[in-house]
C-alpha cells in the first residue's frame, strides 16, 4: 500500500525554452553560475488497488500532452528514496495547501473508475551550471520555493500525502478568573490573540461572572471578533490629539476626538446627504444607485501581511476576499481594481531585511496572484496603480477592490429566527487560522516562521468561488435567502457571529465539511478557509437551494439555525464548545483610549537650486521613473475585456498603450447610455511631509481621474483605505489623525460621500535588534462615478493636429513630495493642498464633456504638467506645443520648473476642436481654464524650455524596448541606467 507512483512529465525538445523568469531571478541574486534551468512536472499517485495500467491511462489521458510532452514513471517505496542522478531541486506543496491540480486528478480518476486514493504534485528543476550546495539552497529558498507553503529537497523529493487522522475533539480550557495581569498578557501573547490587558481583563471579569473557564474556541472567537482587522478599534477609539509646533515645541492645537470613523468619515457622508446612497458602511460593501433598475456596490480591501510572506497566495486570496464582499451584498462582481506598493525593484539582495522576500519577488508573486484570481473568475481587472518606495520593502501593500452590480432592492439582509445557517463553497481545513489577529501584529524577522505563517497564509481557488457566485446569484434571483455574508477573517465564527449578532444561533460543528480529518473544534470554528459564503435560509427553501448547488457542483452544509435567544451556542458532537452572549462579542469590547501627536517634520534641506536642473533631462528622468513609467507589462497579464463592458480600457490611444485616467464600464445587461467610471488616488510621498496633504490630494486625484473620463462629480462616491503603522504609538496615530481630517475636508469640498472603507494598521517591521520601521502612512482613495452617457466618454490620448489645448486649474508652487523632489534634492516643503472651487471646476468640465466639447482630457498628477503633456502626446502619436507663459498660476510661482513639475491639485489638460472652443470657454467661464497650446502633426513636445521628440519620450516611458514580453523590471532598470535616476 505504501508504494507510490512517481510520474515525471518532460517537455519534448524544442517545446520549452525553460522558465526564463526564474533564471533571470536567480541571476539577480548573484547566482550567475546558473546556466540553465529545466522544469519538469511531478505527480505522485497512491492507492491500494492502483496498478501500472491505471497509471499509464492517467499519464496518457490527463497528465501529459503527446504533442509537446513525454512522460516516465516508476514505483517508489517510501523507505528507499531514489538516488540523486543529476543536480536538481524538487519542490512540492505542504500537505493541506490548496492544490487544484491534485484535486482535479482525483476527480478525473473517479470519472475514469481508477482506484486512486492520494495525489500530490510537485516540480523538478534541473540545474545546469556551476553552483555549489549553498548556492543551490539559495536558489531553492529565494527563487524556486516559498517555504511558507512549500518544501524542497536537493534531489528527488518524497511526497507528503495527507494522511487520514482521527477526529480530534479535544477542548482546551482557560481559567482566566485566577490569572493575574501578567499571566493574562502572557496568555494573549502565547496564543497570539493580539488582545491587550484591558481586553483580557474584560474576559477575566466575564469568567468570574459565569463562574467557568473559557474554552479555546471561545477565547479565539473573542480575539478574532475584537481584532483590529474585524472590529476597527483604533477608528472607534477616543483619541487625545495634539499638534506640536516644530519650532517652539509647544502644542498649537489640542483636541479630543470621539472616534475617527464617527467624527470624520461617517460625518462626511452624513453631511453630503446624497439621495442616491443606498447603503454605506453597514454592509460588506458600499451601495449606490446606478440606473432605475440597478445598484452598484464597491469595496476595497488590503491583504498586506499575507502578501509579504506568500505574495501569490496573499494577493490571490486578497482578490478572492474582496470579490466575496461583493457577493455578500448579493451583487455580481463586474470589475476588480488593484493598487500595489512595493519596495525598489533594484534593491541589492544583501539589503533585503531578514525574514522578508526581495521586492522583485514580491511584485512578481503579487501581480501573478491578482491576475490568477480575476482572470479565472472572469472579472475584468480594469483600474489600479503600482507604486515604489523604500518604505514598502518589508511591508508591501496590496489593495484589492471589487465593483458589483445587482438589481435594485434585491439584497436581503434581514435574518429571521428559524432560518437555517447554510455554508456553501469550499471545504474547511486548517488554513488561515488566526488571520485577523495575525494582521494585527507586526511583521518581524520570524514572521515567515512556517509554524505560524503557513496556517495564516493561503492560496485561493477562484474556480470554487466562480461556482459559488453562480449559486448565490441564482439564489438571490429566486429569493431563497434572508441574509448572506462571506467567510473572511475569523471564518465561520465571524460570519455566523455577525449574522447572529442580534438573534443568537445554535451551530453543530461536525456538520462542517472538512478538507481532511483531525481538526479540533476551535480550528473548524475559526478556520479562514477560502471561498465560503454563509446564508440564512428559511427551511422551506432548502430543497431549491440544494438543487442550485447540485447544478453548479457546489458543496453545502446545514450547520444550525438562528434562535432568537441572543446566545451564540456552538457544539461539536453535542458537546458545547462555545456558549457566549452575542452582546459580549459585539458590545462588550472596552473602548480604547489613545494618544496622538503630530509634529510637522523638518523640511528636507535642499542641495540643488531649480536653476541647476536641466528641464529636459528632468522630464526624461521622471518619465522613466518606475512610478510613472508604463505599466503595460503588468496590465496585459490581467484580463480587462471579460464581461464585454470595458468602454474606456486601462490602456488607450493610437497603439493601445497610453495610461488611462480611469476605467469606464457599461455593465452587460444594463440598458440605456449610463455607465460607471472607476478611479483611484494615492501618493505616499506627500504623506512624508504632511498626511493631511496626502489625503486631500488622494481625494482630488481620484475625483479628477473619474471626471477626466466622463464621470459626473455629483454622482461620485469615495472609498477610503488607510494603511498605517502601529496606532498605539502617538506619532503614528498623529499622522493618521491628520490624514483622516484631510479626507473629511476634501470629501466636503467635493460634496462626495464615503460609502465604504477599511484600515490596515500595524504595518511595521521589527528587526532582531528591536528597531521598528513603519511603512509610510498611506491613504488610498478609490472613486466610483456615474457616467451619464458612455458615448461621451473621453480618453487621454491627443486626437488630432490643429486642436487646441487648455489647462484647467491653477498651478502653485507645490513641489513638496513631488516626483521632481524625489529625483533632485531641491528645497521643497509645500505639498499640494486643496484647490479653491474644486467642485465648481469639476462640474464645469463635466458639463463640457457631456456636451461633447472635449476630445481628450488628462489629469495632472506625478510629474505635473510636463509628464501629463508627454503622456498625452505619446498616447496620441502627435506633437504638442504649450506656452508656459499662459499657464495660470496662484501665489508666488516664478520658475519654469515650478510650472512644469509642480503637482498642484485640481488640474487637467483638455483638448478641444477649434470649432468647439467658444462653447468650451463659455461652459468653463469662471473657472481657471486657459487656452495654452495646440496639437501638432509633427511629433515633437514643446513646453517652454523643453523640446523633445515624442518618440524619445515614449521610448523612455516604455523602457527603451519594443519587446513588451520582457518584464517591467528589466525595462525599468534599463530606463534608470539611461537616465541616471537617483531614487532617494
Amino acid at each position: 500500500m505504501n508504494r507510490y507512483a512517481r510520474i515525471e512529465v518532460v517537455p519534448l525538445a524544442g517545446q520549452n525554452a525553460g522558465p526564463t523568469d526564474l533564471r533571470r531571478a536567480a541571476h539577480d541574486l548573484g547566482l550567475t553560475g546558473l546556466q540553465d534551468l529545466h522544469h519538469h512536472r511531478l505527480y505522485f499517485l497512491r492507492g491500494a488497488e492502483l496498478a501500472g495500467e491505471h497509471v499509464e491511462t492517467l499519464c496518457r489521458r490527463l497528465l501529459s500532452d503527446p504533442v509537446t510532452e513525454t512522460y516516465r514513471w516508476q514505483w517508489v517505496e517510501p523507505d528507499t528514496p531514489l538516488p540523486t542522478d543529476e543536480t536538481c531541486i524538487e519542490v512540492e506543496f505542504h500537505p493541506g495547501v490548496t492544490d487544484r491540480e491534485a484535486y482535479e486528478i482525483k476527480k478525473a480518476a473517479q470519472r475514469l473508475d481508477l482506484p486512486l486514493i492520494q495525489v500530490a504534485t510537485g516540480h523538478r528543476y534541473i540545474v545546469k551550471g556551476r553552483l555549489n550546495e549553498a548556492d543551490l539552497h539559495r536558489l531553492a529558498r529565494q527563487v524556486l520555493c516559498n517555504e511558507v507553503v512549500q518544501r524542497y529537497r536537493l534531489g528527488p523529493i518524497t511526497p507528503a500525502f495527507i494522511e487520514e487522522a482521527a477526529a480530534d475533539d479535544r477542548i482546551e480550557l482557560f481559567e482566566l478568573a485566577v490569572l493575574n495581569d501578567s499571566q493574562l498578557l502572557q496568555l494573549s501573547q502565547e496564543r497570539r490573540l493580539a488582545l491587550n490587558l484591558e481586553e483580557m481583563s474584560v474576559l477575566r471579569r466575564f469568567c468570574r461572572n459565569i463562574n467557568r473557564p473559557l474554552t479555546d474556541a471561545e477565547l479565539e472567537m473573542v480575539a478574532q471578533t475584537w481584532s483590529e482587522h474585524c472590529f476597527h478599534k483604533t477608528f472607534k477609539a477616543r483619541i487625545a490629539y495634539r499638534e506640536i509646533d516644530p519650532h517652539t515645541q509647544q502644542p498649537i492645537n489640542e483636541e479630543f476626538i470621539d472616534g475617527l470613523f464617527k467624527s470624520y468619515i461617517r460625518a462626511a457622508t452624513e453631511a453630503c446627504d446624497r439621495p442616491w446612497l443606498v447603503s454605506t458602511f453597514v454592509d460588506n460593501a458600499g451601495i449606490v444607485e446606478f440606473d432605475e433598475a440597478h445598484v452598484l456596490s464597491f469595496k476595497v480591501e488590503t491583504h498586506n501581511h499575507p502578501s509579504a510572506l506568500e505574495p501569490f497566495g496573499g494577493a490571490n486570496t486578497g482578490v478572492g476576499g474582496v470579490i466575496r464582499d461583493i457577493l455578500g451584498v448579493s451583487a455580481k462582481p463586474i470589475a476588480v481594481t488593484d493598487v500595489l506598493c512595493f519596495g525598489p525593484q533594484d534593491l541589492p539582495p544583501e539589503e533585503v531585511p531578514e525574514g522578508t522576500l526581495h521586492p522583485r519577488r514580491i511584485q512578481a508573486g503579487v501581480v501573478a496572484g491578482v491576475g490568477d484570481y480575476g482572470n479565472k473568475m472572469g472579472v475584468p481587472t480594469v483600474n489600479g496603480a503600482v507604486l515604489y518606495h523604500p518604505g514598502y520593502t518589508a511591508n508591501p501593500l496590496v489593495f484589492c477592490g471589487c465593483v458589483g452590480l445587482a438589481p435594485a432592492n434585491s439584497h436581503p439582509s434581514r435574518p429571521q429566527v428559524g432560518d437555517r445557517l447554510i455554508v456553501l463553497g469550499g471545504r474547511t481545513g486548517r488554513d488561515g487560522l488566526r488571520g485577523a489577529t495575525f494582521s494585527s501584529l507586526d511583521l518581524d524577522s520570524e514572521s515567515s516562521d512556517t509554524s505560524f505563517a503557513s496556517t495564516a497564509v493561503q492560496i485561493g481557488d477562484p474556480i470554487i468561488e466562480k461556482d459559488v457566485t453562480e449559486v448565490v446569484l441564482a439564489a438571490r434571483d429566486a429569493g431563497l435567502y434572508h441574509a448572506i455574508t462571506d467567510c473572511g477573517a475569523g471564518g465561520l465564527s465571524s460570519a455566523i457571529g455577525e449574522m447572529a449578532q442580534t438573534l443568537g444561533a445554535e451551530v453543530e460543528l461536525n456538520r462542517v465539511l472538512l478538507k481532511y480529518s483531525g481538526l479540533r473544534p476551535w480550528e473548524i470554528w475559526l478556520s479562514e478557509a477560502q471561498e465560503r459564503m454563509v446564508l440564512a435560509v428559511p427551511p422551506e427553501n432548502i430543497p431549491r437551494l440544494a438543487g442550485l448547488c447540485r447544478r453548479f457542483g457546489v458543496e453545502w452544509s446545514d450547520l444550525g439555525h438562528l434562535t432568537g435567544t441572543g446566545q451564540m451556542v456552538v457544539r461539536y458532537n453535542n458537546i458545547p464548545v462555545v456558549d457566549l452572549p452575542v452582546d459580549l462579542l459585539f458590545n462588550g469590547h472596552p473602548r480604547l483610549h489613545l494618544t496622538a501627536e503630530w509634529q510637522a517634520p523638518a523640511p528636507p534641506p535642499g542641495q540643488v537650486s531649480l536653476d541647476e536642473i536641466d528641464p529636459q533631462t528632468a522630464l526624461l528622468a521622471l518619465l522613466g521613473d518606475p512610478n510613472v513609467a508604463s505599466k503595460e507589462a503588468i496590465i496585459r497579464t490581467y484580463d480587462h475585456e471579460v464581461q464585454a463592458g470595458t468602454v474606456v480600457k486601462p490602456l488607450t490611444g493610437i497603439h493601445n498603450h497610453g495610461p488611462s485616467d480611469a476605467a469606464v464600464l457599461k455593465p452587460m445587461g444594463t440598458r440605456g447610455p449610463v455607465g460607471v467610471a472607476i478611479s483611484n488616488g494615492i501618493n505616499p510621498a506627500y504623506g512624508t511631509l504632511d498626511p493631511y496633504a496626502m489625503a486631500v490630494s488622494a481625494v482630488d486625484e481620484a475625483v479628477r481621474n473619474a471626471v477626466a473620463v466622463g464621470g459626473d462629480p455629483d454622482r461620485l462616491s469615495l472609498l477610503d483605505n488607510f494603511c498605517w503603522g502601529n496606532p498605539n504609538l502617538p506619532d503614528r496615530l498623529g499622522g493618521l489623525v491628520r490624514a483622516v481630517k484631510g479626507c473629511y475636508d476634501a470629501a466636503r469640498a467635493f460634496n462626495a460621500p464615503f460609502i465604504s472603507g477599511k484600515d490596515s494598521l500595524n504595518n511595521e517591521y521589527l528587526d532582531r535588534s528591536g528597531q521598528r520601521t513603519p511603512i509610510p502612512g498611506t491613504v488610498l482613495i478609490s472613486a466610483m462615478a456615474i457616467v451619464p452617457d458612455i458615448s461621451r466618454a473621453v480618453t487621454m490620448d491627443l486626437k488630432q493636429a490643429g486642436n487646441l489645448v487648455y489647462i484647467v486649474g491653477e498651478t502653485r508652487r507645490e513641489l513638496g513630495g513631488s516626483l521632481l523632489a524625489a529625483h533632485y534634492s531641491i528645497p521643497a516643503d509645500t505639498p499640494p493642498g486643496l484647490p479653491p472651487n474644486a467642485l465648481q471646476t469639476a462640474r464645469a468640465l463635466h458639463k463640457a464633456i457631456r456636451r461633447g466639447l472635449v476630445r481628450a482630457c488628462h489629469d495632472l498628477s506625478e510629474g505635473g504638467l510636463a509628464v501629463a503633456a508627454a503622456e498625452m502626446a505619446l498616447a496620441g502619436g502627435l506633437g504638442l506645443s504649450i506656452d508656459l507663459d499662459r499657464i495660470p498660476t496662484a501665489g508666488k510661482v516664478d520658475h519654469p520648473l515650478e510650472i512644469l513639475f509642480s503637482e498642484s491639485n485640481g488640474r487637467w489638460l483638455v483638448e478641444v476642436a477649434p470649432d468647439d472652443a467658444p462653447a468650451f470657454e463659455n461652459v468653463m467661464a469662471g473657472c481657471a481654464a486657459v487656452r495654452c497650446g495646440q496639437v501638432q502633426a509633427g511629433p515633437v513636445l514643446k513646453l517652454g524650455p523643453v523640446e523633445a521628440a515624442v518618440s524619445t519620450l515614449e521610448a523612455v516611458w516604455r523602457g527603451w524596448t519594443k519587446d513588451e514580453g520582457r518584464t517591467m523590471n528589466d525595462e525599468r532598470r534599463t530606463t534608470n541606467d539611461q537616465c541616471g535616476v537617483v531614487i532617494p
Partner: protein, 251 residues
C-alpha cells in the same frame, strides 16, 4: 423562429454571457446550459434540441492539468455520443478560447486520437490580454469565416494559446490567422502573433467546416464601443459576423 443556440457552461467557464449576447445580436436564441444539466440519468436539457453549440471561454476546472484538458475529458465521457450525432447532423459548433482548447483536446477538431495538434503555453510564458487582427483563410471550408469580407479585430486573453502540431497542419483547415492591421501576415512576429502559434494560426476548423475553434474572443467586439480606439473615431472589424454566419447557416 430564431435558431436555438446552446452556450455550454461548466465549472470555471466565464465568457458564457457575452457569447449569449453575441448570439442575440446575431439573431439567435441563446441559452446557457450547465454541463451538469446534460448528464446523469435524467438530464433536464438535451443537446439535440439545439441547432448550434458554443463552448465558451474561461478556465474550466481551473485549467489544472493543461487548459481545456479536464473539460475535454468531461466532453468525451459524458457527451461523446451526443456531440458526435450533433456534428454528424451538420450542426455548427464554435469553441472560443477555453472552448477551442477543450474541443481540440477532445479530438473534435482534428478527428484523431490523440490529437496531432495542441494548444500550449504562450511563447512569452504568461497570460496576456491584447487586441489582435485576424484574417480569414479564403481556402477554408469553415462556415463561420468563409463569408467574412474584412479582418476581425478582437482581444485575446489567454496563457495557453500557442498552436503546435506534431507534423504540420493542412492549410485548408486553418480558418483564421493572426495578422498585421493592414491584413499582411504576422509572420510569427510578436505581438501581432501574441502567443507564438505556428503559421500564425489563431483558429482551425474541422474537415466538414462546421466546427470552428479559435483562441481570440470575437464575442468581445460586437458593439462599436468595444473597439479600443472608438474615442478616436475608429470602428468596424467586429467579431459579430462570425456569429451571424453561424446563425445564417442554420436558419
Amino acid at each position: 423562429m430564431k435558431p436555438r443556440v446552446m452556450i455550454l457552461h461548466a465549472s470555471g467557464i466565464n465568457r458564457d454571457h457575452e457569447a449569449a449576447w453575441a448570439v442575440e445580436l446575431a439573431g439567435g436564441e441563446p441559452e446557457i446550459v450547465h454541463i451538469n444539466q446534460l448528464r446523469g440519468s435524467s438530464p433536464s436539457h438535451r443537446l439535440a434540441d439545439y441547432q448550434m453549440l458554443i463552448v465558451a471561454g474561461g478556465f474550466s476546472y481551473g485549467d489544472a492539468l493543461g487548459a481545456g484538458r479536464r473539460l475535454a475529458l468531461a466532453l468525451s465521457l459524458d457527451l461523446s455520443d451526443d456531440l458526435a450525432a450533433f456534428i454528424e447532423a451538420g450542426k455548427p459548433v464554435l469553441g472560443i478560447c477555453n472552448g477551442f482548447q477543450a474541443l481540440l483536446k477532445a479530438g473534435l477538431l482534428t478527428g484523431d486520437t490523440p490529437p496531432s495538434a495542441t494548444l500550449t503555453r504562450n511563447a512569452g510564458g504568461r497570460f496576456e490580454c491584447r487586441w489582435v487582427t485576424l484574417t480569414p483563410n479564403p481556402q477554408s471550408p469553415c462556415i463561420f469565416t468563409r463569408h467574412l469580407t474584412e479582418p476581425v479585430y478582437c482581444p485575446v486573453a489567454h496563457g495557453e494559446g500557442r498552436f503546435v502540431t506534431a507534423n504540420g497542419f493542412p492549410d485548408r483547415l486553418v480558418a483564421l490567422r493572426y495578422a498585421a492591421e493592414d491584413g499582411s501576415p504576422a509572420n510569427g512576429q510578436y505581438p501581432l502573433n501574441p502567443n507564438g502559434s505556428v503559421g500564425d494560426i489563431a483558429g482551425i476548423c474541422s474537415a466538414s467546416g462546421t466546427v470552428l475553434g479559435l483562441m481570440p474572443h470575437p464575442e468581445d467586439h460586437i458593439v462599436p464601443w468595444h473597439h479600443p480606439r472608438w474615442t478616436r473615431g475608429e470602428q468596424g472589424r467586429l467579431g459579430l459576423p462570425l456569429f451571424e454566419a453561424g446563425i445564417r447557416y442554420v436558419r
